[in-house]
Symmetry: C2
Subunit: 360 residues, 2 copies
DNA sequence: AGTTAGCACTTAAACAAAAAGAGTGCTAAA
DNA sequence: TTTAGCACTCTTTTTGTTTAAGTGCTAACT
């Protein structure tokens, strides 16, 4: 999208209005803009320009005789302008890295910490998302004898993650039966997706296990569970209380709906699943298909690991969020997180940030 | 605590006031009480009694010429009266069990589902807590060769939970070295708590591993991490948006503080760690040490498994929450959850609800 | 002595009218 | 093309008034 249509002065005015509104939250009038410096003309001129900007759809007027407020298009112009030039002032980066490093752990944990951090640095609501994995398979199984009535299945996924599950059996089991089970699972259940696990297959496996066939049912069910569970996708958020500081959320109805949507998860999950470039994405208000977001914007960045999107971190806030700051912050945090989980090649003899993916 | 001081009529009035206030949310006047049936005297009499109840501290007046509102003591009386007699009308139990069973999985997941359920059934905010485990040890280790630069440690805790962690090494490893590592860990690191793992011990282990000593450092660090991580304690909540329906939270400041406390976690965690009977606990307003709770009540029940508290589920809501309903609901859900995770003896050949404890 | 009816009093909430303020659109002059 | 000025519009704030609810108290009643 190009904005050639806008004269240089209009751009300046629009930018001034957006920033003033972000700052103060209230409609901004012609007088304020001219006082702000930058422009060397009178308020009347500004008024004329603003009237035109309104007609073009960049500004809105809550009512006659109120100042102007940026429309969604206005915000869009603003952030598009920003992304080309936003300055990577790396002053809080130290803090970012410190906080993240001190909390290294499973990927879930990193994402959650990142979300917290995003919230803290921006004063909006931070979100962290583990996207739905389209289709996952197991690349290897290990089975551990736990006690006479329990065994543990260790599954290594095609993405190299490790999942475990304890399985309880009705009849007692032996070390030997456990080994046979492992061999069987490795022989028949590697590399196939959840929907390929059907009854005939199970029956066949049961037969192969002979008198220990009872182990199969439980084991397969549990493998199936894990496969679908990983598929799930998950959304964490933190710092909702931050939103309460912004008057646009003082209407409890709107806030309630937003919170509801957040808890539903699915909608937001779909939202970020759609748009994934490698960069920071900005969804402004009704640009997203989620109704409830009409009053809010979402800034997020996918986290890639070996080219695969393993997570999304971002920030949710009012339409008039401080995009300049937020864009920078999310980009930085995203970078740090990617650094932490992405470098599969950098070996240092230290514990690697767990790929354990631990259940939920 | 005994309430002999209260005449039968005072009790009736108090109960009527509490229930009317819970129902409507507004101060209740003498007239309303008498209209409500139950009492066969005039409003003037009620007024006298209410004045006395106020002096005794059971009721409060927002201002002269408003009706009365229960004080915290008033609520306390009410719930204490309730617990002796609340009727276990088991009508939604079916739903409870159904929902819980359909979502069986790790204990974390069960707790989260339970929290959601609690929220849905009560229309308040549901909470689920995994308490801090005081001191944990490992009872057995298994080590799995992953690839040349990675191995997986499977740890079985003293509580019978399973944790795994993938460890990356600088130098390449063999199947044989992995087996030696397992033997070593089992020989030296079973049954000892995190603080017993010190440098001399590590050095000794390194020596024992010979040329594969580099594996020790990473492995031990990771074991240590898991031990302390489990210790963490965790709080999940759901249905905060429910709170917005209650006028007491329309003051965004109060709501914000409450949300902040919820996200802090530590305070609530301490709170429920303190009081643990086997039954439903009720913390009314400032009875709890958390300042922010002045306006809210917390109803919760510990979940025990083999005598050990493995979780807490509960509900957070306004002072005037519908205790009758909530008490019953939490008791039921608590019971169902306990059934699901508690019966280590009931064998049925099905997958047991995972004890995996999956990391965060 | 306990209960009731009646009434004066208090206070918050609801309503209405008026005043203030902010900002625009438009016209006419520079 | 810009600017100054002014009338107009609409919201917000203020102020005053009314209404309604509910109490406390006194005096009569059982």
């Amino acid at each position: 999208m190009f904005y050639e249509e806008l004269s240089e002065r209009k751009k300046t005015i629009l930018k001034a209005v957006v920033e003033a509104h972000i700052e103060g939250g209230e409609p901004v009038g012609s007088k304020y803009v001219v006082q702000n410096g930058l422009l060397t003309c009178s308020s009347a001129t500004i008024r004329n320009e603003m009237a035109e900007l309104e007609q073009m759809g960049y500004l809105e007027q809550p009512h006659t005789s109120a100042g102007r407020v940026p429309s969604e298009l206005g915000y869009r112009f603003y952030v598009d302008m920003l992304v080309n030039q936003y300055d990577t002032v790396t002053k809080e980066v130290a803090q970012v890295n410190h906080l993240l490093k001190s909390k290294m752990g499973e990927i879930d944990q990193i994402l959650e910490t990142a979300s917290r951090l995003a919230s803290k640095l921006t004063n909006y609501t931070g979100i962290a998302i583990k996207p739905k994995a389209s289709s996952i398979t197991m690349s290897r199984y290990e089975v551990i004898w736990f006690d006479e009535n329990n065994f543990v299945i260790v599954m290594i996924t095609s993405h190299g993650n490790v999942k475990t599950k304890k399985v309880k059996t009705a009849e007692s089991i032996t070390q030997e039966s456990v080994e046979r089970l492992a061999a069987l699972l490795n022989a028949h259940l590697c590399g196939i997706s959840a929907d390929k696990i059907n009854l005939p297959l199970i029956v066949e496996l049961e037969k192969a296990m002979g008198s220990d066939g009872f182990m199969i049912n439980a084991a397969v069910k549990c493998i199936y569970d894990v496969m679908s569970e990983i598929d799930g996708g998950e959304l964490r958020y933190s710092g909702i209380n931050n939103l309460l500081n912004y008057p646009e959320y003082s209407d409890t109805r709107q806030l309630g709906e937003l919170l509801g949507t957040l808890e539903e998860q699915s909608q937001i999950l779909d939202l970020v699943s759609d748009a994934d470039s490698d960069n920071v994405n900005v969804l402004i208000g009704s640009e997203s298909s989620v109704k409830v977001m009409n009053n809010s914007s979402l800034v997020f960045k996918p986290i890639k690991k070996n080219g695969r999107t393993v997570g999304v971190i971002g920030v949710l806030g009012p339409l008039r969020m401080d995009y300049k700051n937020v864009l920078r912050t999310i980009d930085e945090i995203g970078g740090s997180v990617a650094d932490m989980i992405g470098d599969d090649r950098k070996l240092d003899g230290k514990v690697k940030e767990g790929d354990n993916d631990g259940g939920k």
